[in-house]
């Protein structure tokens, strides 16, 4: 009798087991999906530039990003210069994503009639999930060739005097959907400088950030602090603030900056505008991307 009760109790307990099991979340049997895949932070900035500084973003693999940038004259030119709009410094260039990590780019500037080129490599990608990485990191090397006619054609001029370089480490993090911050320790090397007071090697620390206001508009700001004792008086740190407006395939970057040049050594070491005295340029970068190499694999 006792045994029968025990058997009956056992079956009563055991039988519903499988049915209960069948009702639980089936996918939980596979464990957490998020842990098996790596989720990379994307769209930390709308494009690969903040204003003048390179952002931590790179151009996507197989994409050509055509860029036209303008910096109008200084606002303090007043009505006579139509607040700077009478003059413009222009850069026309293009960046290409060789891979999702490697970007190369070239450009032509009206300032110094300079040709520039850069190579940028993303060595760290911020991610969560299977691979956890708090930061995105990139290295940037760029070179610019000044092609203005020699100021003193009578003396011996070397081609190497036309060359200027910039080396930069970019470390940043997308803290939230709206906030991204980055630091850009920078070394500028100029083969030829104007005066003895200016150093050929200039060390600087750039900082930049963006706050997304809506899905398609963000505000960007950047500041480049040049360590003291490297530049002649009259040169200033570059400060820029602007808006990114994204429409389909274009990103319009509208900004105010006290830097005239759009090439690395120029905006780091040759900025003369004084924000407090209206030494500010209105300017824009327009970025239009073209997919050269399609990426969908089936």
């Amino acid at each position: 009798m006792e045994l029968k009760i025990k058997i009956a109790v056992f079956f009563l307990c055991a039988l519903p087991g499988p049915f209960l099991l069948a009702q639980e979340d089936l996918l939980s049997l596979l464990g957490q999906q998020g842990e098996q895949q790596t989720d990379y932070a994307t769209a930390s900035f709308k494009t690969n530039r903040v204003v003048n500084l390179h952002s931590l973003e790179s151009t996507a693999s197989g994409v050509f990003d055509f860029k036209i940038s303008h910096r109008f004259g200084f606002l303090n030119g007043g009505v006579y210069e139509f607040f700077g709009l009478d003059n413009a410094s222009i850069r026309i260039g293009g960046d290409f994503g060789v891979s999702d990590r490697l970007t190369v780019g070239v450009g032509r500037n009206s300032y110094d009639k300079a040709y520039d080129g850069f190579v940028k490599y993303k060595f760290l990608r911020q991610s969560t999930g299977k691979r956890n990485m708090p930061l995105t990191g990139a290295v940037l090397a760029s070179c610019a060739i000044n092609t203005v006619k020699w100021a003193n054609p009578d003396r011996i001029n070397y081609f190497s005097s036309r060359l200027n370089y910039l080396f930069q480490l970019i470390l940043g993090r997308k803290f939230s959907e709206s906030l991204t911050l980055q630091l850009s320790p920078t070394l500028v090397h100029r083969n030829l400088v104007r005066t003895r007071q200016e150093k050929n090697d200039v060390f600087a620390l750039g900082g930049a950030g963006r706050i997304k206001l809506t899905r398609r508009i963000a505000v960007n700001a950047e500041y480049i602090y040049v360590l003291p004792g490297q530049l002649a008086p009259g040169y200033r740190n570059s400060i820029s603030i602007g808006f990114d407006v994204e429409t389909g395939g274009h990103v319009f970057q509208l900004h105010f900056t006290n830097s005239t040049s759009m090439v690395g050594h120029g905006y780091v070491a040759e900025t003369v505008g004084d924000w407090l005295k209206g030494g500010v340029h209105f300017g824009f970068n327009i970025s239009r991307v073209f997919t050269v190499r399609r990426r969908l694999k089936k």
Partner: protein
């Protein structure tokens, strides 16, 4: 006697347990494709990392897919898909929980192609809607290959499409699902 009873109950319990495990199938690399076709533009995206579990006994089936895992031809499209439309940081997953309503007609021990109907709740962008889709289960040497396709409208899932791109994105998207199920064992 008590010991024998104990042993007996353990054996019975274990056999029940293994039996239920044996009736479940899973995948971690299911393929989900969606296509939007308008006269202006054809947009296609593929995700090959869909996870799914199928309970062969009850016909219950579940899917989960990470929105960021959808690959587009154009990188910018993929960025806009995640940033502007799906808000994939806020809603990282799409899930489906449902039932193969005619599972009793499928004989997993016999090779063949069985037409099925799947009914359930599809959650995308934080919005859940009921979905009914026709599909096929193909049984071959004990393996199960399942495929299905259905249409859905982005509006039903609270995905706003601005007027400027209204002509580029279809009102009704075609979703295709293709899955090779493996037997779920304890080690899976």
């Amino acid at each position: 006697m008590k010991k024998i009873l104990c042993l007996f109950s353990v054996i019975v319990a274990l056999s029940f347990a293994t039996q239920t495990w044996g009736q479940k199938y899973f995948t971690r690399d299911g393929q989900i494709t969606f296509t939007s076709e308008t006269p202006m533009e054809k947009i296609e995206a593929v995700n090959q990392k869909a996870t799914s579990v199928l309970d062969a006994a009850s016909g219950q089936v579940e899917f989960a897919v990470l929105i960021k895992g959808f690959q587009f031809e154009k990188a910018l499209m993929q960025e806009h898909f995640n940033e502007n439309y799906m808000e994939s940081t806020k809603f990282p997953k799409a899930t489906f929980k449902g039932q193969i309503t005619d599972m009793d007609l499928v004989d997993l021990t016999k090779d063949g192609v069985y037409p099925i109907t799947v009914k359930g709740d599809l959650m995308i962008h934080g919005v859940t809607n009921p979905v009914v889709a026709d599909g096929k289960l193909e049984v071959k040497n004990g393996a199960i290959h399942a495929r299905s396709s259905f249409n859905l409208s982005p509006e039903e899932y609270g995905i706003k499409i601005p007027a400027v791109v209204r002509d580029n994105i279809a009102q009704s998207l075609k979703v295709e699902v293709a899955v090779n199920y493996e037997l779920l064992t304890n080690g899976s």
